[in-house]
């Protein structure tokens, strides 16, 4: 393992994610039009543009600070259901990381596991409820597996991203039980969950970050 998951890598990851959201915001909004209120793309885009604006000032900060600023920025700019949930994800992911300049793959996996646990605690969604949890939980489990195998490579992360995308697609037939889509009852089936989709992009962004910058760590 080189020097692990550093602040620089996390910032590139967040920047790449912001880039994907900018590209995909209309798609996310279209998904949210079918079973929600047509704002998920705009919400996420607004939030990560704000994170992007803060990134330069974080270059020399420890990971606890990076995750916390990201979390607080999302909480105060995204709004809706996704704001507190993604905010909580990064807040919990950063808990206990004060002073840490880098994480090992296992530590990184543990950090994201804390994140998803925070999302579940806040939103009370279970697997299969057709929410972002349906992607976050299995994708992070896959990431943990790769980390436990010793290293995170562009190819192992590409597999995690592919799995995340599959999980997002797998929300299509589900009946929504949480969030606004649940109001639709049976009519929520047949549509991909917007939050699950934006969650999958997190792992696409991560894989792209690694394949661009860090062949192996």
């Amino acid at each position: 393992m080189a020097n692990g998951i550093t602040t620089a890598i996390v910032l590139r990851w967040l920047e790449r994610y912001a880039g994907i959201l900018a590209e995909k915001k209309d798609h996310l909004t279209a998904l949210d039009s079918a079973i929600g209120d047509a704002d998920h793309g705009a919400n996420m885009h607004r939030g990560f543009q704000a994170v992007l604006a803060k990134a330069p000032a974080l270059e020399d900060k420890h990971l606890g600070e990076v995750f916390k600023v990201t979390a607080m920025t999302l909480i105060s700019t995204v709004g809706g259901a996704s704001g507190p949930l993604y905010g909580t994800f990064f807040l919990q992911a950063g808990a206990g990381l004060a002073g840490r300049p880098a994480l090992s793959p296992q530590e990184f996996a543990a950090s994201l596991e804390r994140g998803v646990a925070g999302v579940i605690q806040r939103g009370k969604a279970a697997l299969g409820d057709k929410t972002m949890v349906d992607v976050l939980e299995p994708a992070i489990a896959a990431l943990r597996k790769a980390a436990d195998a010793g290293e995170l490579t562009p190819s192992s992360l590409a597999e995690v991203a592919a799995h995340a995308e599959e999980c997002a697609k797998a929300t299509i037939p589900l009946l929504a039980r949480k969030g606004r889509a649940s109001y639709l009852g049976e009519r929520s089936r047949g549509h991909q969950d917007p939050g699950a989709t934006s969650a999958a992009y997190l792992f696409t962004a991560l894989a792209e970050t690694f394949s661009l910058q860090t062949p192996k760590l």
Partner: protein
């Protein structure tokens, strides 16, 4: 998309600025974080009443800020719950020393964002009580949903709790009163057309010219069921019946009948709905002691209507009748 706007990202701030300019005697706008507050807040010795939610429901909530109603309102982006920093800043700005009541519509986002704000405010020593309004009978409150949505009853709760706050009730009393209103109010809505979220640029859903959506909320979303368009009287019955059933109103009870327009429905039509609704209530021996008719909790330019019934008693009538001076509701002053 055909809208009288400058740019989707400026809609909320520019509209707030216009509202504040038009009602300088009543309210003030604060930007970054965004909220509207009573011009004379904090009113010393009074519990403050705050609400908020996504924009696009105007006059809710900003149009209900003023004497006898809200002390502050926090508008989010269109159809997007506001963020905790807004509610925190508004809470701090209007807190008059006796605590703050948060009136929250039951949507996952609203509930979570208000919860976070309340935690932050409490950490600063401000007493906060939050009451969640969930009056929409179109959605069953079950393990399989996020619970009933907060819709029309919110307007009535804001008026009634605002009046009670003005009369000096404690935070505890106000929270109990708000829960009472919520327990006594039920709503159901329908749409003839969808609406267009400015950022999305096209209608959230499409409906054929002979179709309507039954059981919609207030976010331009599709409803519980798509049906063939019917006559106004039949639509009224379809809206009112589940409300009556859920409230279990018997002959002899008194109600406030609130016929609400979703934004694009002319008053001409709302009064046709009102006519049938009060006729049907009369047939059931239910007396319409108070009413409200108009677009008060809307979904942008959506065509459609909702009906809210609030079971009344002397206390609720008293607070409903109390003077109010806001952009959208005014009497007695």
């Amino acid at each position: 998309m055909k809208k009288l706007i400058n740019a989707p990202e400026n809609v909320v701030e520019e509209s707030m600025a216009g509202l504040a300019a038009a009602y300088r005697q009543v309210l003030t706008a604060h930007f970054g974080p965004n909220f509207l507050r009573r011009v004379d807040a904090p009113v010393n010795g009074k519990v403050s009443v705050i609400s908020g939610g996504g924009s696009g429901h105007e006059p809710l909530h900003g149009g209900f800020v003023g004497r006898g109603m809200l002390d502050a309102a926090c508008p989010g982006a269109v159809f997007t719950s506001p963020t905790p920093d807004q509610m925190l800043a508004a809470t701090e700005a209007v807190h008059g020393g006796r605590g703050v009541l948060h009136i929250v519509k039951n949507y996952t986002g609203d509930v979570m964002n208000f919860e976070m704000a309340a935690e932050l405010a409490r950490a600063q020593g401000i007493e906060v009580e939050a009451v969640v309004i969930n009056d929409d009978v179109a959605v069953k409150d079950s393990l399989y949903t996020a619970g009933r949505r907060g819709v029309g009853t919110t307007v009535l709760a804001e008026k009634i709790c605002g009046a009670a706050a003005e009369e000096g009730q404690s935070l505890e009393q106000l929270a109990a009163l708000c829960r009472k209103v919520n327990a006594a109010g039920r709503s159901m809505g329908m749409a003839l057309t969808s609406c267009t979220v400015p950022h999305a640029g096209k209608p959230t859903f499409e409906l054929a010219t002979d179709e309507m959506e039954m059981g919609i909320g207030i976010h331009g979303e599709p409803g519980r069921e798509r049906m063939k368009l019917r006559r106004a009287d039949e639509v009224t019955d379809l809206l009112l019946q589940p409300v009556l059933d859920d409230l279990a109103l018997g002959s002899g009870s008194e109600v406030l009948l609130f016929v609400n327009g979703m934004g694009g429905t002319p008053l001409l039509e709302l009064f046709i709905i009102y006519r049938r609704a009060q006729e049907l209530l009369q047939e059931r021996g239910i007396s319409v002691a108070r009413n409200l008719v108009g677009p008060y909790i809307t979904s942008l330019e959506m065509a459609g209507a909702s009906i809210t019934l609030l079971r009344l008693d002397d206390e609720l009538k008293h607070f409903w009748d109390a003077p109010v001076w806001t952009p959208a509701l005014r009497w007695g002053i």
